[in-house]
């Protein structure tokens, strides 16, 4: 009887052998991680980033040609996931350089000594966005704000004055009109919570109670808030107020009239800054530093709006025309100290969950 089994295993092994051809084809691009300690031409540098990272191919190819490096991009979840992966692998990092750690997650990584020093030369405007105490560790690359957005067409049609401030959102006139992604599951959701914490301090739970009483609808992510529940998101939604980005109005421009049907409320914004840094214990620190400088270079800075929907830190970088016309930036966004965010994130989220699921 066991001989039958042996025969079957032979058969199965044969199957496996034929199938190996498939993996061989797949394994062609199995590039080895950079082994060399300096940025020797031909060495590989691994950029770890979040899943929203994108740059035009030609820029990457030009960087590779000019530096002689082989740039390998590995995406690692969202900003939170990315940061936590770096923290867990600090001793044996998953790459040489990181892009995409933001000001809401940075301090946890800084506490764990994830980054190595690299004093990058910042473009004009960059200095204002550095993280206090981490100027030599993290270089600001881009920024964008999370703001409450409104469907201006809807408010005009209803002949209702739109809200302006966070406090307005609890006004009964706007009952059942707002949708927002949740703080624990969405990065813009978290940013909106931080806006309210910056405005109301320790009284933020009371504000959220009032917000919920006024019929705020919560979704798990930005996508379904915007594309299902928001009136101007194309999904036939019923709610004209949504938590989104300061750049969103540039994506609702009507081609015929040449105007945007939505607007961002600039007094409700929280600014997210994304940083790049060389990873401590990297195999290729010199190559990693070159990647940070590359991300700060003008061609990349000017490609950021169209590639990643964020504003460059370089004040001189040219913006796309629609952005200049429709994507207004807040002058004085809300701020919360990154160290405080790191310290209280878990408590805040627990309390937030208690209030919103009451």
């Amino acid at each position: 009887m066991h001989r039958g089994a042996t025969a079957m295993s032979t058969l199965v092994c044969g199957l496996a052998l034929t199938a190996c051809t498939l993996t061989a084809e797949n394994g062609d691009d199995d590039a080895e991680g950079g082994e060399t300690p300096s940025a020797t031409p031909g060495s590989t540098v691994v950029l770890v980033t979040h899943e929203s990272f994108a740059l035009p191919d030609r820029l990457v190819r030009r960087f590779e040609r000019e530096s002689g490096l082989d740039l390998e991009v590995r995406s690692a979840g969202d900003a939170g996931s990315l940061t936590n992966r770096l923290v867990l692998t600090a001793q044996n990092p998953i790459g040489d350089v990181v892009f995409g750690v933001d000001n809401t997650f940075a301090s946890r990584a800084l506490d764990e000594g994830v980054f190595a020093e690299h004093a990058a030369e910042l473009p004009p405007g960059g200095e204002e966005l550095t993280l206090a105490g981490a100027e030599d560790l993290l270089a600001p690359i881009d920024q964008g704000s999370v703001c409450v957005n409104i469907d201006t067409t809807w408010f005009a049609a209803q002949d209702l004055a739109p809200p302006q401030t966070l406090e307005d959102l609890t006004d009964p006139a706007y009952e059942d009109l707002m949708v927002a992604p949740g703080a624990p599951t969405s990065s813009p959701g978290m940013a909106f919570l931080l806006s309210t914490i910056a405005e109301y301090g320790d009284d933020w739970p009371d504000y959220w109670t009032r917000l919920m009483d006024n019929g705020l609808k919560l979704t798990s992510g930005w996508t379904d808030a915007y594309s299902v529940d928001f009136t101007a998101g194309g999904g036939g939604g019923k709610r004209p107020i949504v938590v989104s980005y300061d750049t969103s109005p540039a994506f609702t421009v009507d081609e015929e009239s040449g105007t945007s049907s939505t607007a961002a409320l600039l007094d409700t914004c929280f600014r997210q800054v994304e940083y790049a840094g060389v990873l401590a214990n990297s195999d290729n620190p010199a190559g990693a530093a070159q990647v940070v400088d590359f991300l700060l270079s003008e061609p990349v800075q000017e490609a950021l709006p169209t590639s990643m929907y964020v504003f460059p830190v370089d004040a001189d970088a040219e913006l796309p025309e629609e952005w200049v016309r429709f994507a207004q930036q807040p002058q004085d966004p809300y701020e919360v100290d990154p160290a405080e965010i790191a310290e209280h994130r878990a408590d805040w989220l627990t309390e937030w969950t208690d209030i919103t699921t009451r």
């Binding site: 009887m1 042996t6 199957l15 993996t23 797949n26 992966r85 979704t219 169209t306 699921t357």
Partner: protein, 553 residues
Amino acid sequence: MTRGSGRVRGARLLTLAGLAAGPLLVVGVFFLLPVSGMIAQGFVADGRFDPGGVLQVLGRPRVHRVVWFTLWSATLGTTLTVMLGIPVAYVLHRLAFPGRTVLRAALIVPFVLPTVVVGVAFRQLLGEGGPLGRLGLDGSPVAIIAALVFFNLAVVVRTVGVAWENLDPRPGEAAAALGAAPWQVFATVTLPALRGAIVSAATVVFLFCSTAFGVVLILGGLRYATVETEIYLLTNDLLDLRAAAALSLLQLLVVTLLLALAHRARSRRSAPTQRRTPHPRRPGAGDLPALGATAVALALVVLPIATLVGRSLRVDGEWGLAHYRALGGTGTDRALVVPVTEALANSLRTAVDATWMALTLGLLVAFVVTRRSHGPVERRVRAGLDALFMLPLGVSAVTLGFGFLITLDRPPLDLRDSPLLVPIAQALVALPLVVRTIVPVLAGIDDRQRQAAASLGASPFRTVLTVDLAVLWRPLLAATGFAFAVSLGEFGATSFLSRAEHPTLPVVIFRLLGHPGGANFGMALAASVVLAATTALVMLAVERLRVPGVGGF
């Protein structure tokens, strides 16, 4: 005499170990090691071993709430899926009517659709502005459970359907001839014979339901948390590894308990698989209830998919194919690294690899666990192995993903950047489905058939070919289709492991959904429809491969 039988027994155990070695190694390296590595992190606080902290987490009221919701929603989801799936399995696998192969292929589509997309489709139907908005189901547990049934129906239909196809019709016919009513035949003859397959399917569905992630978040409106969503939040956002470890342990415990129960429920000997398989017959009046259930199932599957297709065809308020034409590109303003068409090619390539891996491992496992055991110890070892390969379904993808990062990072296991990780992870998810599809049929083969073949002079190879393979043909095809579909649709582990230059289609869809702009959203939906259609086509092709003559004399 004693020495002789001892040698035979030793040889048999050696073969058993040899066959099990491959799958054990894979599960050991790619599942047990990463998961235990991650759990171990939670037990260490400030460099000290501190199990007390983990236990403390289990006392939190929130944890109790989360566990309770997970258990009841998964139980209800499983029960409904099984109750709906059995009549559908009957209709699609025992009745003959035009279009049944197309229906079979269509029913597996939900299985591969990305949860985010299904979530959006369900919310379009049930949301305030949707056609079913009046029911007020948006954000309710009803919506979550409906989606769980939607996703998992195919598991029951295929697992039970394949077993049903192989069922000898003669005992049922005999019972009917002796005067049993159709329902009596079903309750006393058919159901007991299908028991193994039903319990198998229910186990898998329960594991899928209890680890459902996106569905719970999107459709529950953040009001409901399951153990899975909680582990995700604790690991991914809060890096509270102690609490995550506590929940992961709890998850493992519950899953192990469930598998033990399932094993007991299954362990009565399956009805012998006969070489004479029945021919599907035309539907009659007595089949009306089953046909009705099938219509309900179809509505449940078709409505959200139709919503999805409908919205993918809306371009700036008008009907058009622009979103589909855009799939050859990289989205407005280059939202993507590679065109959707290339991502589809990546998906298909990965799926081929994942499928052969899952089939190879699955066949080995199935052979090991179905051989007749000599003695209780051996039986227990085989049962343990059987359960071990089910475990990956019941454990959080986040725990596994983070575990890969911290345990597979040094030679000789410096594998975390290997391109093979994606197909291997997908194969681990598909493995239980492969095993559960093959085992009920394999276990039903009467060993005397093999002995007869051997005594008639057949070589071991020929015995396998003429006895085992002849019956295994259909379940193997079903398993192949399953593994392929799992791989095409897998998102959790894949998104964690896939490399930026080689994204699979679900990863690309997720990415498109995250970018602003109606065109990117439309492309994401169009890409989902393409993913669904590709899966359905592959399923149809696999069905075509079925050679009816092989199963019978």
